[in-house]
């Protein structure tokens, strides 16, 4: 069992996520007395009961004033069995991007649903995002059970609805009252019909498969370290797999092979290293390797075209006529996407990049199968993508317009002359790189 579990919470607004987290922190004593005191003082200005637990997590003034969670908040707590990093994510639809953010690193999602309302649009949406981002273990926390007299029928209907919604996931429905603490830390005697573990017990014991060390070796180069003339090392984080001196690796995209001679760290050279260690590798041959290249064992996909599921997070829609920046591992390239996306839209699309990416399917490797899209005009992180399938190089070539066609299209589709000049200049700079 892993010593660290990353959790994200999800659900509709007012389903009580922040209250549940406040309860977990409070009951596991991750909240200190002075923080509790400041919350008690603040609670007097509001109408949320004796202690408003959401005040622990709603860290921004605007959130406390409006009584809603706007932004993802990270919380840390530990029990004797495990340490937890918990991403508390907002329920409002306009903040769906933060849901995706929280889910991107989570092992388990806790989906909260109000027992009185059942599965709502927002619950479905969040369940889908969490599943899309690779989460397979879900807790369905049916909250506010005290308001439906701990009715078993209500609980089971909601559980069944989620089972239909997430047919390929591991579901663990639990009837709770976050406000009163039923089945949060300990089992509640108000639900004698429920014999499964409480929420915390489940989180303490769930086995999640994130054994990236057992997967093929992937090492994107972050920096080339050359402090002296006789040292040249490739600094990076091992995203998956294991490496030892003597192993033959392939440098992508060049495809040249070489042997690892040393694994250098400040603590001394290592005989073996594995994900997620950050190390510096020295190789035998003097081959050209730079930031963005990947040292790998086995065959990653190397392609300029692929199919991806994309979550769009920007108010400015994705414009298929524009060129975006795409960052995947340590490589940033320009990319075109073959369809339009609106804020909060999730769909699959074909992506064509200016230079090849070295990747795996997201389902096989979250770290090498994910990318972000950056709008070069605003620098905002506008989209997040998960690679579903490599398109063959042939497909990529076939859909890739010539440079002249691309420039003409950029100029044609720009809103103003100034935009056209800027877009063409950017594209030219990229071509000349």
């Amino acid at each position: 069992m892993s010593g660290l579990l990353r959790i994200c919470t999800a659900g509709s607004v007012d389903d009580g996520k922040s209250t549940l987290i406040g309860r977990l922190l409070y009951d596991s004593r991750a909240v200190y007395e002075d923080q509790l005191h400041s919350v008690k003082v603040a609670s007097r200005n509001r109408t949320a009961g004796p202690i408003d637990f959401s005040l622990f997590t709603d860290g921004l003034k605007a959130e406390r004033e409006q009584g809603i969670t706007i932004d993802v908040a990270y919380r840390y707590f530990a029990t004797a069995r495990r340490k937890f990093i918990l991403a508390d994510t907002p329920g409002h639809e306009q903040y769906t991007r933060n849901m995706a953010t929280g889910a991107s690193t989570a092992d388990v999602a806790v989906l909260l649903v109000d027992a009185r309302h059942g599965v709502r649009v927002q619950s479905k949406r969040h369940a889908r995002i969490a599943r899309l981002l690779g989460i397979t273990d879900f807790v369905v926390a049916v909250n506010k059970m005290d308001l439906v007299d701990f009715d078993r029928g209500v609980f089971e209907t909601i559980s069944d609805d989620f089972a239909e919604l997430l047919p390929d996931a591991q579901l663990h429905p639990i009837p709770i009252s976050a406000l009163h603490g039923d089945n949060v830390i300990a089992s509640s005697d108000r639900t004698p019909w429920f014999t499964e573990p409480s929420l915390l017990e489940y989180l303490e014991t769930v086995e999640v498969d994130h054994n990236l060390a057992a997967k093929p070796f992937r090492f994107p180069v972050q920096l080339v370290l050359r402090p002296t003339h006789d040292f040249r090392g490739y600094a990076g984080q091992i995203l998956s797999g294991t490496i030892a001196p003597g192993d033959t690796v392939t440098a992508w995209p060049s495809g040249r092979t070489t042997r690892v001679t040393r694994i250098v760290t400040w603590d001394g050279d290592l005989e073996i290293a594995h994900s997620p260690m950050s190390v510096t590798l020295v190789v035998e041959d003097d081959i050209d390797i730079s930031r963005g290249d990947v040292l790998a064992l086995g065959d990653p996909h190397v392609s300029r075209g692929f199919e991806a599921e994309i979550v769009w997070m920007d108010e400015r829609p994705l414009d298929p006529a524009r060129v975006y920046l795409l960052k995947q591992t340590t490589r940033t390239v320009t990319a075109e996407i073959d369809r339009r996306f609106l804020l909060n839209q999730i769909a699959s699309a074909h992506v064509t990049t200016s230079r090849p990416l070295i990747f795996d399917r997201y389902g096989d490797n979250r770290a090498t199968g994910s990318f972000i899209l950056i709008d070069p005009a605003t620098n905002f992180t506008a989209g997040a993508g998960m690679i579903v399938n490599a398109a063959g190089e042939q497909v990529a070539t076939a859909t890739q317009p010539s440079a002249a066609e691309r420039l003409a299209r950029l100029a044609r589709t720009a809103a103003t002359d100034a935009d056209a000049v800027a877009a063409v200049r950017r594209a030219l700079e990229e071509l000349l790189k």
Binding site: G3, Y32, E33, D34, Q35, A42, T57, D58, G59, L60, K61, A62, I70, D71, V72, A73, Y74, R75, Y76, I85, A100, T101, S104, T105, N211, A213, A214, Q222, L223, L225, R226, P227, T228, F231, G233, A235, Q237, T242, V264, T265, W266, D267, G268, D269, L270, E271, H274, M277, S278, T280, R291, K327, T330, A367, S370, F371, P376, N379, T381, A384
Partner: protein
Amino acid sequence: MSTSAILGATPQSAHARVPAVSPLARRPPAPPRLDHLRALEAESIHIMREVVAEFERPVMLYSIGKDSSVLLRLAQKAFHPGSIPFPLLHVDTTYKFREMVEFRDRYTAQIGARLIVHTNQEAITDGTQPFLVGTQRCCGLLKTKSLLDALEAGGFDAAFGGARRDEERSRAKERIFSLRDAKGQWDPKNQRPELWNLLNGRVRPGESIRVFPLSNWTEIDVWQYINVEQIPIVPLYFAKEREVVVRGSALIMLEQPFVPLLPGEHPQMIRCRMRSLGCSPCTGAVRSEADTVPKIIEELIATKHSERQLRVIDHDQDGSMELKKREGYF
């Protein structure tokens, strides 16, 4: 700091290294799983390297505290066998504890780091001090303004800070790469989404980022790491008899001549230590017997109060940390 500067850097001298074999080097080949401290370490190193790869002129805010000590060790590890490829910046209010300044000068020289010390001399000359202008204005002038001036003067486009999300509720919301506008200000409602370990380092001219490699560390993690790594820290963290006055729940050391004695207060010797380091007039000590790192960890596990409780400046108004951060404070 450009990449070429790293390439030209000299390797660390051998005696600056900790000679002992670390737990990392001793680790047996199986099972291939990192304990949570090593996982946090690897994540922080990854963050630091991304900054050096994507920014022209990074700088590390060095506050002399325990978190800064951990940041420094991580920076040594991230760029080994090269030296740390960016300078350290200490924003000196001139009201820091004497032992902090002594430690700063000794330790940074020992590890061969480049240190920039910046003070808002104009404000000091004008007599700025917390009891005269109030803590909000004092922090604003001596910390926030001073910091922004120093960042501008150095042309820094990325500044590392040791803040952790578990410290304070507005910090819990902050990104690892946190964008600042040309005036150094934070817009908490319009932060860039940050997914996986993919950090967006794109900024426009004039904009900058604050970088928090310790975002996912907790106070206990920091202390456990200091313990495992044997990282030197300011002696103020360890309990000993110190001359203080009892003020509310805080013990205040009278280092600055302008700190007034309130009616009924008298200096006395109390065994105490600092849990968090700041300016001596505004940072209280706690009664403690913990004079070693393991004892500090034990004490923390048993404590009921957060580390920033005795930081007066966190409590001078509602949402005060968020307001300070928006203006440009760390």
